[in-house]
Structure formats: C-alpha cells, structure tokens
Symmetry: C2
Subunit: 321 residues, 2 copies
C-alpha cells in the first residue's frame, strides 16, 4: 500500500501537460511499491505509472535507476521505461517530490510460481545481466556484505526477542561472511530484489521485470542467489530442487556460469538469506507508529539461512556440475 | 486506501474469463473507497474497476446498488455501470466475497471546487433525482434521523472527550431533529454521500457521479443539504454564499424545488451536519487496531452544525425566494 504523497488534480494536470502523452483523464493511487508513491494515470494515449520518489530513495540514485530502465529497454528487455517530457527529461518535480512518468507494463505476478516460471525467470535474469554489461552508470550495493554489520547494529541487541540465540547466530554469520565473501567473481548490474512480485507474466509467458529500485553493481551470481531464496522454496519452507534446476537451466541458456560462480552459490545464497533476514529483522523491530504496511516475518529467512548453511556444495542443491 | 482482500492472479483470471471483456492483462489494487476492496483491471477491452464487497456492506443491498447504477445509466446519467457476465449477472463471487466488474469512468475529483463546479453538481444531482424516480427497488436510509440516536448511543458518553459539552449539545440536537424533521417533502432515490471525491470532472466539465453505496430512498432536499455541507464551505469553514446559490441554480435548472423544500433547507442542512458529525465522531472514538485510514476530524462538522443552527430562514444563506 503506497500513497505517501497526495497529488491534487490541478498540479497533476499541469505536470502531465509537460509531456506529449495526451490530456490527463484520470488518476488513482495504487497499492504497489513500498518505497514510493505510485499512481496509475490514464491519458488520451493510454495507461501510465506516475511515481513520486519519497525520502527513502536517495535522489542522487534516480539517474541510475531511470537510465538503467532506458538502457535495458533499448537492449530489448521488457521493463517499464521513463517517458521523456517536452524538455527531453525523464525526471520532473511534483508535489514537492522528484517524479517520473513511466510506461505501463501489462502482466501479473504469479502468487504460486511453478517450474516453468522459474526457468523463464532464469532466462530473463541472464538477459538482464547481459544487457546491463555496457550500461555506463554504476551504483554500489549498500546492502552487500559490508553493509550488513551496520544494519545489524541498528537492530541493537533485540534480535533475541524474535528468537532466542538469534543475536549470536547472526554475529557468527557476519564473521563468516566477512571472511569468506568471494572477491573475484564476474560483476555487473544486478536487480537485487527479483522476488515474484517484480516479475510479470501473461498467460504463463514472462512479460517483463519491474521495480529496479535496488539495482546496483555487484556479483552477477549473487542476483541468482537472491532468486534461489525468493523462488525455490515452497510455502512450507521446503527447498524445491526442481525449481533451482529450472532457474539455472534458464539462466545458462543465455549466459554460462563459470565454475567458480556455481561453486559459490551455497555461500552466496546463505549471504542473500542473511541480507533479507537483516532487513526484515530491522523492519520487524522498528515498526513505525501508524504503519500502513505490516512488516514481513523474519522467521522465514532464519529457516532459509540455516538451510543454506547445511549445504556443503552445489551438488547438495541437486545440481550436477 | 482500500485493499482489504488480496486476489490471486489465478482466481482473477478465472473470474474475468466469465465475462466478455477480453483477457486479463493486469490488475492493481487502488487506494479508493473506504468500504470495499477495489482493483483497477486492464483487459484486452480496456480499463475496468473490480470491486470486492467487504463485510461492512450488507450483501442484501447489492442488487439495489448495482441495479441503481444500471438504471441511472440507462436514463443517460454518467456513472459507472456493472458489466454483466456471460450468465447475464452483474454480481459474482471472488476470493470469498461478492464481487462485480464495473465500467471505468474517466475524470478526476476536484480538490478545490469552485462556483462553476457547484452549479454543475446541482444540475447532476437534480438529473439523478429525476432519473431515479421510476427505479423499482428501494432501500431505506439507515443514516436518516431515526438512525442517529442509536449511532450516538454507540459512542457511549465519550463525546465530551472530543470537546467539552458536546454530549449535551448532540442530545439537544437529536431531541430537536426528532421533533421537527419534515414528514411530507418529495422523496426519491438520493445519493446521500455526494462529497467532492464522488463527483468527477474532465477539463472543468462534470463527467460523472460515482460511489452509490450510501444511496437510498429519502427526502430529495436532504441530498441537497448534504451537498451544501460538503461543497459550500471553504477550507477555513467559512460559508460561501455564492456556492450555495450556484448549487441551487444548477439544481433548479432541472428540477424546481417546492417552497416547502426551500424552507426546510436550514433544518435539513443542520440535520445533515449532525449525521456526518455522528459518523465521524463514532469513527474517531473507535479507531481499530492497525487502522489503515486515519479517521476524519469531527470538529469540522461541529462547526457546520452550529452554523446551520444559527440560520433562521433560507434567506440567511443569501438565497432569495
């Protein structure tokens, strides 16, 4: 649920007049995106998304986010693209916020992804990694291994209030990750948040990727590790070997993984589980007064973290190398 | 902000297949309506609204609400109309709720209504009253004078926590209203909630009325009284004589008010102010745990109630009869 900033009809009319997309016919706040305010706007030319960037997004990052979508789309990837206004700019200002009008992407996210969805996800992820290789801007990943300890520190010593022993367990994980995180795997632009709600399908065909607001430069295989966590466990937290196989099959049909990347997957997946555990833990322990969104239970990622810790090599995921 | 019921892609695909509106292309929960869950859906045929009726709406009332919109539209009034499914029915069932697909009405509500908007509102309100005359279903107004005392009783004796002396003031108002409420004015189908957010405009032309979920049979002039409260005060709670004149001019260009209706306007407006004061007071005193919507301040309607109480005759509104 996200409409943090109310926009008046008068100011939006004026804003839309700055674009060559026909007159504004209607706009409705939509319950999508957690970081920003989003409206679905209908003009004489069709549907568009209006995004107002809220304080949680660093406005210095906006050229990276908007430019990346343009770049990926120009390479043939299906993703929403910022519309340029009459001055040729993607970024404007509305209701005291940086704001952009983005193309509307048809499709729906699947609540219960199946093996075919996972394989198509793998294809699209690899296509995105390839397409991002020559993108000229870069953005470091604030939520990679070096960012985890400061994030954990912001949780204070309250982790044990969620589960006894969790504080020490996370401390050990941080020590381990900081000592063992791989330094020399292939890097590039990663999505970094490719959960099922950011992947659209139409009639079981992947129709596009959305929400690039965590995108950054990092290890390409770490993006796969995030998807393994987000797509390859069942609702009962059981790991689905068939889904990881399909994901990697799809990925490698576009971009062959190096041996070192494959070998690092258990460690990277364990790290990705720790990363989402930490942000969920932080959100869980810091629910703002009058919160509109109930934070997600960190428990799911405690289980996933322990699962990956039990994996000795990629063969334990059921993958033959 | 209203998405109380989450709908999965699978069940919505199946539901939309029951209609002749093309394949489902996307759906997004929208922050519109307080009583129900609303989604904007995009199909091969265009945009539609999907409404899931939540528990606050009595499902016995749904044939009245849906039938009324069909009836008014058939008389040429611009309002959203329920789409019939392949079985010829307007009402279906989705995600455990009664559900309907409604046509999408372009337009935006004006945050700062001006005199022209008020005049057009008057025209549309009278057109709706005329068009509703031969609607065959009826629904009594649970929020008319007889419903106010029970509603106030549900607030207990906490009114004084909002403003000292408010409890006694409301008691006196209830006594007065129950003794003086007019019995023999023209009746018909009224909208009963025609606030600015339920009236759409496109380029300053009224494009339609929405949200008929308080519609009922009651005194036609009471509907005008509700609009006087909702449209003819400025943000600083000052009454705008020019706006009420425009509202009545627009209304009477379609339907001439009887002398008794005009004479009753101060009393009806005072009653309407009491009605909205009572629901706002109730909501204010009963904020549910984890509420998504901050209730509206009842103070605004305390002031409006007192204003109307000071009016001796319709001439005090600046209206010549």
């Amino acid at each position: 649920m996200a409409v943090y900033t109310e926009v008046s009809d008068e100011e939006l009319n004026e804003f839309v007049d700055g674009y060559d997309i026909g007159a504004l016919l209607s706009y409705k706040g939509i319950a999508e995106g957690v970081e920003n305010s989003n409206y679905l706007i209908h003009t004489e030319n069709g549907n568009f998304i209006l995004t107002l960037y809220e304080k949680r997004v660093d406005s210095n990052d906006l050229p990276f986010f908007l430019g990346l979508k343009e770049h990926l789309a120009s390479k043939g990837l299906n993703c929403p693209v910022p519309i340029k206004n009459r001055d040729g700019k993607s970024l404007g200002h509305l209701a005291g916020r940086p704001a952009a009008i983005i193309s509307f992407l048809d499709g729906m996210w699947v609540r219960r992804p199946n093996v075919t969805h996972c394989e198509q996800l793998g294809v699209a992820l690899a296509q995105m990694h390839e397409a991002g290789q020559d993108f000229e801007l870069s953005r470091s990943n604030a939520l990679s291994v070096s960012g985890w300890r400061p994030l954990f520190a912001m949780c204070g010593d309250r982790a044990d209030s969620v589960q006894a022993g969790l504080h020490a367990e996370i401390e050990n994980e941080l020590d381990f990750m900081e000592s063992n995180w791989p330094a020399s795997l292939p890097t590039g632009v990663i999505h970094a948040d490719l959960f099922p709600d950011n992947v659209f399908f139409l009639r079981n065909e992947l129709s596009g990727l959305i929400d690039f607001y965590f995108a950054c430069n990092d290890l390409l295989a770490y993006d796969i590790a995030i998807c393994i966590n987000a797509w390859c466990f069942e609702a009962d937290d059981m790991f689905n070997v068939t889904k990881i196989r399909a994901l990697l099959k799809g990925y490698q049909s576009v971009r062959q993984l190096e041996g070192a990347e494959l070998a690092a997957l258990p460690l990277l997946s364990r790290g990705a589980a720790l990363r989402f555990l930490l942000t969920r833990l932080y959100d869980w322990l810091n629910i703002p007064e009058g919160a509109l969104v109930m934070p997600k239970d960190p428990g799911e990622y405690i289980k996933k973290l322990r699962f990956h810790r039990s994996i000795r090599s990629v063969a334990d995921y059921g993958i033959q190398t």
